[in-house]
């Protein structure tokens, strides 16, 4: 046993998602990530089940753990009640906590994700928000996405949204009180600490 194994074992998602694997491969067969990446949820489950500190450290530093799409298709299909997707979530959290996410290209994407998504939550109260969803970053949104982006107030207004308005409704302005509560929750439950750590580690390693 070691600190990585102990921390993983204490994660409730491991308790929920990792029982005894019979290597049937059902999770691999149903997994969208296994289809398009060099990735196998079965292998993840096997490697974690070794409970070997070095093996787990290697996983935490790898690209592999960032390929899962967290669709949880594996959770439905596993005959043993495992949820490899949940195991992945626990591994990713630990990789971030220990700073191993810096070792992989996919892991280093964490800074961009954090800035975008936590920024939206803390500033606007939404995970995704039209004023920060830019067509240039989303060419797949098509010519209609570009049109919506360039004419947001008019288009959202036309369909009955309440973009940045008061009261209830679609995309209403979230009150300062609600935003302050979200920030307090972030402070009390470790999100702020995690964000600051990711920022600091990335800064120290020249990642912008």
């Amino acid at each position: 046993m070691g600190v990585l194994v102990d921390t993983l074992k204490a994660d409730i998602r491991i308790e929920e998602g990792l029982k005894a694997c019979i290597n049937c491969g059902s999770c691999v067969a149903t997994c969208p990530a296994a289809e398009f990446y060099s990735y196998s949820p079965k292998n993840i489950v096997n490697l974690v089940s070794s409970w070997d500190e070095d093996t787990i450290k290697e996983l935490l530093c790898s690209e592999t753990i960032w390929y899962c799409g967290e669709c949880m298709s594996c959770m439905t299909r596993c005959p043993r009640g495992n949820a490899p997707g949940m195991v992945i979530m626990a591994l990713r959290s630990l990789s971030i906590k220990e700073g191993y996410f810096l070792k992989s290209e996919r892991g280093r994407q964490q800074l961009r994700l954090q800035r975008a998504l936590c920024g939206n939550i803390l500033n606007y109260g939404y995970c995704v928000y039209p004023r920060t969803y830019h067509y240039e970053e989303h060419p797949e949104s098509g010519s209609i996405g570009k049109w919506v982006n360039e004419n947001a107030d008019e288009v959202f207004g036309r369909v009955g949204a309440n973009l940045d308005g008061s009261g209830t409704g679609v995309l209403r302005k979230i009150s300062d009180k609600a935003l302050a509560e979200l920030k307090s929750i972030f402070d009390a439950t470790g999100a702020t600490e995690q964000m600051e750590r990711v920022e600091q580690l990335c800064r120290e390693n020249g990642i912008e």
Binding site: F36, T76, L113, S143, A178
Partner: protein
Amino acid sequence: MKFSGIQKIWSEWEKEIPDDHWFYVRSCIRQNFFPASERRYLDIVRGNLGRDIFEHPEHTTCGGIAYHNECIPQLTQMTIVGRQFSIMTESGYSNYVCSCVTSFGLYCEALNTWKEHPEIEAMVREKLWESCHREFEIPKSLVHASDLIYHLRHEIGAKAVHKLTNANTGEPLRVVDHVGCHYAKMFPTKGVGGAEYPHVLSGMVEAWGGESIDYPERRHCCGYGFRQYHIKENRGYCVSNTHKKLESMEPYHPDFIITNCPGCAYFLDRWQYVIAHQTRHTYGGPGQGIPVLTFEEAAGLVLGYDPWDLGLQMHQVAVEPLLDKMGVPYDPAKKYLGTNGKAIPRPELPSIIRCC
């Protein structure tokens, strides 16, 4: 009631859905991509069906997208869930309906975890009190927005202005569905029909006159994948998975796709545009895509709402062929107008896949 045979099997997959008095929380993704569906959902449930469904201005994101991108810890996400429940409690409601499929999975997960681990619920309550001086009660009922429309589908069918049929031939429209993964796969017993017998959408389709078409990759993920989408260079994963689904449904010549997940509807629509550019292939015949509808849009068309009030102008794949089949009237000149009929610049219309 005692059931036997298929009825008995099915009764195990049905879900108890209270009939009235709902506390409603919105979806971040749906508000961004399908704002009219968010708006018309309440119009339909309140206005057309006469139910009490309450929205409180202080509710926020559930934090689910950030959680599934590993940007916030599980305790943070669960405490935000606790805050949402607290607003429900102070509003005097106990039936909780959420519009987001990611949220639905996370609410189910939180309730399941708290049941098995009361110490985690206690920790969430402590953190919520420490941070917001709030307390909450557990909802008596937790459902997704599509469950409620499924429950009310026959009332909607009885008020139908347009059926899901071909107005010329009377034939039922051929409809394929895509049920969101986090609705059906995380806690299959919490969704109508679970993952094996996905009935929440096909039940609506059949109640409104359409024909539900099974296809091999019906249960395959749309490919959103959270960080696989939010990082631009990872998006090959997303389009590859949607491509797999579209290839699988194409031979069945569906008239449209219906979904209950905010992201899935968007991706099934937009990746058709990207695939058309990549491969010059379109899935609804030469130069034509397969229209994709949210379940609110489908319900709205059935109830006679104007297509542009339903936000169908925000789709990339043209919906007009479907409207024509159903005999739904629309004014092409009004499609791309702004608020209060204001003229605004029109979008570019790609030649490779029909948009209007």
